[in-house]
Symmetry: C2
Subunit: 203 residues, 2 copies
DNA sequence: TAATTAAGATAAACATGTTTAATAAATAAA
DNA sequence: TTTATTTATTAAACATGTTTATCTTAATTA
């Protein structure tokens, strides 16, 4: 790596570190690019040169933690529980994470979820990873004969993810709603959905 | 009504009319408050005095059409079809509407769906109306014994709405995705979900 | 009717994300 | 080594949503 490339990476990291700190402290709206630039010791223009936009910087700043969180959540998945319990386990882990800083994560999701996929590469890849993992859970249940063979695991995972998003919207829209309450709603909805996938034993 | 109140309403309507026109023509981002103010023949400050923010103005500007659309979609609902077909009918109607101006409706939904309920009164009431209608459909199926009696219609409607939102996200995120393709995915997901609600005839 | 108050409208200012044009320094070319 | 070129950085400008202080005029009151 060049001397130039190296120093470029260094300022990039300075900006990222400052952004992580300030975004977490003050939230997305209350934290300006000028604030971050000042904390990083660079010019505001540099922030935009290194990261295309404030939204892109937010996505980049939170991505590492989110990827690590997903990895940790997957690793801590209890092996001995049923499919519904495991789906809820994962969802609830994320609810709890988002609950620690609702405004910040609301901003992140709000700014990324409806945008064209290419514009939000990290969130796109994170949700794809999430959905693929769900599909894996579903497929392994299917292999054990507990789910109808004609069910497409990716499609079913996408449906579970949609239900999860619906619950997430509740969490963000209703400040007084607790993680537990949202998880309960999601449990009911997902339970009903899985019931539709379930192979029925002929009585 | 006062002369003062009357003229206030008049400028409000001027702004709304200009906003409807310009938002539809240029989209949310490409259309500035100054543009709208100029077209309405008022000052930019007036726009903000009458509508709390640009987002609130967008919500207000599109609300009438959306409420009317929902009314029309409900009215045109075929009576002779099954629950799944009817759910899809309604969803597809909205997909087609949004497809006419994806950027504009993406902006609307993006700016409202994750915000606290009180901040987006129109979108809140629109989606509540949507969900209540779905719940009505589900309840009437339940009354005919086609859906398990223990299912809560509102909860099931919320689940269907979540699936609808998941499909909507696909539509907005993937520019090349057609309304038909999205409707097909939603059909599969909703079909599986309804299967879980269905009362099974003991063979 | 005259004086006072309240309210609607706005010009000007402000805050902040983003762009542009200029600078300086490192790399490549001669 | 000297020159030319590319590039990271930035200061200044710009665009635009929003706020503030001012002005005008309608409503109210004396």
């Amino acid at each position: 790596m060049n001397r130039r490339q190296a120093s470029k990476q260094e300022t990039r990291q300075l900006i990222l570190a400052a952004a992580r700190l300030l975004f977490a402290q003050k939230g997305m709206e209350e934290c300006t690019i000028r604030d971050i630039a000042k904390a990083a010791g660079v010019s505001p223009a540099s922030v935009v040169v290194h990261f295309k936009s404030k939204t892109a910087l937010l996505e980049e700043a939170l991505n590492r933690d989110l990827e690590n969180a997903l990895t940790a959540f997957i690793a801590s998945m209890p092996e001995d529980q049923g499919l519904l319990e495991r789906l809820l386990h994962l969802a609830t882990d994320f609810f709890r994470l988002y609950d620690q800083n609702r405004d910040l994560y609301r901003a992140l999701i709000r700014h990324t979820i409806f945008e064209p996929e290419g514009e939000t590469p990290h969130m796109t890849s994170l949700s794809e990873r999430y959905i693929r993992f769900l599909a894996g859970l579903i497929e392994s249940e299917q292999n054990r004969g507990r789910i109808k063979p004609e069910v497409d695991p990716m499609m079913a995972a996408a449906a579970c993810f949609s239900l999860y998003l619906g619950a997430l919207i509740m969490l963000f829209r209703q400040a007084e709603m607790s993680v537990e309450a949202v998880a309960e709603v999601l449990a009911a909805m997902t339970g009903q959905y899985l019931d539709g996938l379930t192979e029925r034993i002929k009585p």
